[in-house]
């Protein structure tokens, strides 16, 4: 329906604007941090730049997929391109993992190993999610979703635990922020499987109007939280660490 088309349309537009604003912010915010922490902002800038590129493609694909016909929107011959989102995740999820592990301030060989294990798990998670995503059949969706949730739990659990263990290595104020980061990671990443399930919950599978709308809106909000929100929290952690370093004379 028109309202549903419009809602997804607006959400995509808001996400393009947020990713763009995030890019301007991460680039300009570097000047407030000591050089040691600036690479984190570079990584965040890359994440939102790649996301902004993909959301332009998603937005245009959405507009090509539906035409206004007597007050309601009907699908055109061109199918909506769901793959853009998964392509985006293939690039941005590893970058986010790099950022998170950096915050943990582990010894660099342990960090290396962890990034590789998590990246492999991320790849498996995304690759096993895709067949379920593009299938219109609920059973297929649930099967692939369950398989995908295994590496997902591995990643979120590992980072959650590690962020907790790292608290001891951080100055007090950074501890609070790191707890929040841990919470945001859990909440934003948890959004994805919930959004994935919405077509099942709302009924009708991923080809029904409700299903599509819930899916796209859910993923977009998750993306904003996981990319811009996450990067902003990383910024505040880096800001605190910069202040802390200065006060102890580093």
């Amino acid at each position: 329906s028109s309202g549903q088309f419009g809602l997804v349309y607006q959400i995509f537009s808001i996400t393009i604007a947020t990713m763009g604003a995030g890019f301007i912010f991460f680039v300009m915010a570097q000047q407030n941090l000591s050089p040691k922490y600036r690479p984190a902002m570079v990584v965040s800038a890359l994440v939102v730049a790649v996301a902004c590129y993909h959301y332009f493609r998603i937005f245009n694909s959405w507009n090509e997929s539906y035409a206004l016909n007597a007050g309601a929107y009907v699908a055109t011959a061109v199918p909506f391109n769901d793959a853009y989102r998964y392509a985006d995740w293939i690039l941005t999820v590893p970058l986010l993992l790099v950022e998170t592990v950096a915050v943990l301030a582990l010894a660099s060989n342990i960090a290396s190993g962890m990034i590789w294990r998590l990246a492999v798990a991320a790849f498996v998670m995304i690759a096993t999610g895709y067949p379920g995503e593009i299938s219109g059949d609920t059973t297929t969706r649930l099967i692939w979703g369950t398989i995908s949730t295994i590496p997902f739990i591995y990643i979120v659990y590992t980072l959650f635990v590690e962020l907790g263990k790292s608290l001891d290595r951080q100055p007090p104020r950074v501890q609070v922020l790191t707890r929040n980061l841990r919470l945001l990671l859990f909440a934003s990443w948890g959004f994805y499987p919930i959004a994935y399930l919405l077509p099942v919950i709302l009924g009708g599978g991923s080809l029904s109007a409700n299903g599509v709308v819930g899916l796209q809106v859910g993923y977009s909000i998750a993306d904003i939280l996981a990319k811009v929100g996450f990067g902003t929290l990383i910024y505040f952690i880096a800001l605190e660490k910069t202040a802390h370093d200065r006060s102890v004379g580093v």
Copy 2:
């Protein structure tokens, strides 16, 4: 009518120009401030960048919605997209709240809590205003408007009071500017509900020509005051604080 179409057309064009000029200003003005206050300009720059993006979309939507027909403008099949404005507010209002709370120079945990409470209220305010906005029926408009005004009053009241309480913590010259800021916040934010009511006051509801014109013009002027005007005042406050810091040797 042609005059009415032209007025809204011009107001949108002026707003695009003002947001663009504001962006150039906020980026270039950072050099005059000490590094401590520059993030405020970054936030203002983001606010007007996002607004500029949305006003381009609003301007184009306006042009697509009406066609010249025998000297007057009649609606085309494509409806004017009102949602752009609300989408814009979802992003810029929280950023403005962040700026304002920063000026209060509160202890950072109190500031955090306040930003969260205000942001939630802002979300409620915008979300409850939208159903009333898109309805052509006056009663619906007034009901939703009243609901929306509750969080609105909470936000404006909280900031008004806090800005007043912060005066003691500020150097003298900054006090004057902070009073003006408080006044501008009250006036510019107050514009929005008044503009919202214009279709009722002018009669004809939001689908009548007068209603639409009053609404769009009112919101645009409010946006210029609340985004560019507000950011410029924040700039002068930061300028004063920079001078003050230098004079006391910080």
Copy 3:
């Protein structure tokens, strides 16, 4: 006629080029001034950026308004959009007032009050000029023009007198330049009402070919003088003040 169309066409093209060159100049010229005076260049840069934007719109509107028909130009269905110019003034006149009052180097509370009074007068002047502008009838034009001239005289008189009084506060070399600035303000701002009257003087009102040509050419030349010329003189004043500051050890 073809020659008249071409003249206005060229004038608009020249003005776009001049505003663009002015923007490049004001941005690059900042490096020669001490930081205290650079904001003046930022304001000038904003003024010409906004003017450049509007002149692009005016230039395109001119081309859409007239089509070549058997060697002469006749009006098309799309009317020439005169409002762009007034929209431009709404934004640039206050900015020019800010620049001029800054040059006066008054105590900042007096400066504040003056900017507000002048800005209000400017708004009244522009708002009362517009109805006369768009009317094709000479009597209406003269009535509104006279009303508009009242705030106009107030502004030009105030600035003229204040610039004169400020001479005592300025170093000698700056005095000469300030006198020139005063002269330029009087001359360039005086151009506007004269251009406004051209359709009456040349006969035929604002819808006759001569009237339109005289009007557009007159306003464009006035704009170049009042924006680029004025900003350049402000630059030289700032250059002198920078040299003076350095010589007295500031």
Copy 4:
């Protein structure tokens, strides 16, 4: 004919490239000069930027004016827009005068007066040249050309003499360059009236193929010499002065 169309086409393309390269050069070359001489490069950059803009318009106008028809080029309904060139001169000639007078290193009040007299003469020269330019009749062309040559001689004579007189005030190496500058000014500015006369000399007036080709090619070469060549020589003079200043400890 095809060859003639192609020659003018190429000359315009070369001029666009040269003005663009000149702009890159003048902007990047500033770093080699001491701050005192950088404004000269800024002015040169403005000159070639404005010229580049106009040559784009001239190039496009040329392409719209002639269509390929059975192997030869015939004029289309759209006339070639000669006014662009004169519009360009109105802006760039005063800027070149400013550059030249700056090189003379005169006391600043004498310099001021001279710039004004020369600028007025330049305006008269260009304004009286235009009627002759657009007329197809040889007699008209010669009459206006003669009138125009009077201020032309005044300008070139004044600058020639003044450049000669300034030699005493310059260090030795700069003297050589200044003599060359004087020669270049004489040669490049002299090109313009010669190009102007080409339609008469080649016969056929300004509407014949030979006349048009000679005119456009001549003016373009003159422009490259007078803008890029001149600015480059000014650069070398500034380079020498920078070295000289450093050696005497300024």
Copy 5:
């Protein structure tokens, strides 16, 4: 088929995004390195800029080569332009060789000689691979592929051995990274001949759907590893060397 068209389409889109992100990274990452190692980032930036340009052309060529026809994609009259990839390699492979040899930190005359020998081998490898690439016949493909593999083995073997020999000249931490670099070089460059063989292995030659898909996907993944992955590892090596230099007081 639609799925196959979509897979290649997505892979190309991902590669454009990765090359673009890589460019932003390599330019911004220079600030973290000491000036001695920054040219390595410049070379990497050039490599991904050239690759990004070519992938835009490849992406557009892919879209022009196939049209949607009753749910499946059929070839259009315009053939897919395979040469873009080989053109890209002609430029980027020598640049990557320069980067790798620089890491070896050999005496500069030995390095020179090696770069020349490797570059010649690279040229032969690419030139002899092309005839096989564009032929649809398996036998031709294998013959040319074998010929091409000879210089390929020479290059990979030389660099592998040299990287091994250079380990002694490197600080410990850089040794680990250099081993990884050696492994990445072997793995990513090895991808190319494997991708080349996919049309043979999957059957159907290079004109079958499977063959084309395997080929394009394989080459794109190889390119991402060999250009962005490689450059990122070079960055980490340079980062370590910068830290090492600082610790020993260089």
Copy 6:
């Protein structure tokens, strides 16, 4: 034929990419050189910028000149524009001469005289080559080519000898590079007359398919060597001189 069209098409695309990459390189590489040698990079940047502009025009002209017709390419009504190349040489050859003479580090009056003589010779060489280029007749081609070769020999001989004589004035490492530069100059410039002769050698004159292909490919490769290759060698010479200057305390 299709293969031949594709080869020239690709060569032009590669050349655009190389000139673009060269521009990025020459601009970014300046930071590694001492300020004394940076102008050389500025000149190189101008050379490749102008070349990139012209190759865009050449590439587009090539595409407009031939249309796909039943699997082969036939000439369209629009002739391929050969003049672009000669226009490019008119601008870039003098700039390359300036670069080369600068490397010679001669006393500046001798350098001046040499640049002028070489520039005149270059102009004669290009001007006398053009009539031969555009003629389809072999005899004409050879006659003009021979005339053109006279100034060509003068230029290459002069620079070759001078580069040899300058070796004594250079530090040892720079000597090796200067010998290479001399060799590259001879080889790359020698490419041009050979490419010029290809239509004669391959038979068929400049209008035959083989002739055109050989010509365009030959000139493009020569351009890459003479502009990007040459500039890169100049960079290494400047790098060595920078290191040398630092070691002797300049």
